[in-house]
Amino acid sequence: MHIAEGFLPWQWCLFWYLAALPVIVYGVIKIKKVTEEHPESKPLLAVSGAFIFILSSLKMPSVTGSCSHPTGTGLGAVLFGPSVVSVLAAIVLVFQALLLAHGGITTLGANDFSMGIVGPFAAWLIWKGARKIGWSTSIAIFLAAVMGDWLTYVTTAVQLSLAFPIPTFEAAFVKFIAIYAYTQVPLAIAEGLLTVVIFEYIMKLRPDILVKLRVMPKEDPELKKIESAVA
């Protein structure tokens, strides 16, 4: 999903910067607020960022015969909300743009919009929705992470089709979806499974923080089960 340096006309670079910046600013404010209110959530914030660091560095093979990488943003989106993830993703994207020539500074706005905003926002919505209709935490976190990952790549395809509608937007979209979104399907599923593993771990060891961050209600039956297993 990294649009390479210089591979968007400058008008689009500016457009995506303007679209991403307000969310990042709001995310910074939210990080300040949440770490002041709940200082004990800081290690989880670090874990959310670290998860994005690892997953976005793993370029994995896909059944389409090409390679791509997961995003790792679903976990942070569920724990802290999408705006916080837009900041974490921006840190990773700057690291990769400056040190790895992967992505770019001119395309940072566009890349953060797909990986740090659309993906996490979708993940967060799916988590909320799936929980509301009573699906288990594991299923909800799986779906959230899978769709957050996949929709990031769909967003990249949309962004490139908008910038290069050759010959038409539709034709370009078919081409870019083939490059990005098909490859991503198995990787998104892999990311979903990995996110379930780490989330279940956190749920087992520190359910109290999940309650404080209002990820799960105190009276959640799954948390009650963990509590009674301890006693």
Partner: protein, 110 residues
Amino acid sequence: MVNKRAILLLAMVAVIVIFPLAIYNGKGEDQGYFGGSDDQGPEYIESTGYTPWFHSIWEPPSGEIESLLFAVQAAIGAIIIGYVLGYYQGQDKERKRRKIEANSNEYVDV
């Protein structure tokens, strides 16, 4: 305690990664396999006649350096997750130990 469920899920991830390697076994970059989708996008865009107007300020001078930096990125993430979850695991163990101790003391008092 070994978490069987976590191992099963991780094994599924391994299968997802190994499967493409198995079906395209023997094929490599020269035949057009296992290239990055992040590289195919720019290739296609260049084929439409577009030339990028800005280039990376610095690029890793070789594949070795690039893989070094990617490994550093993953290592930074892994050490943080390992540290925090390990710390939580220790806290959890201690909490349980105290609980058991407190319970056994009650029995002694009675």
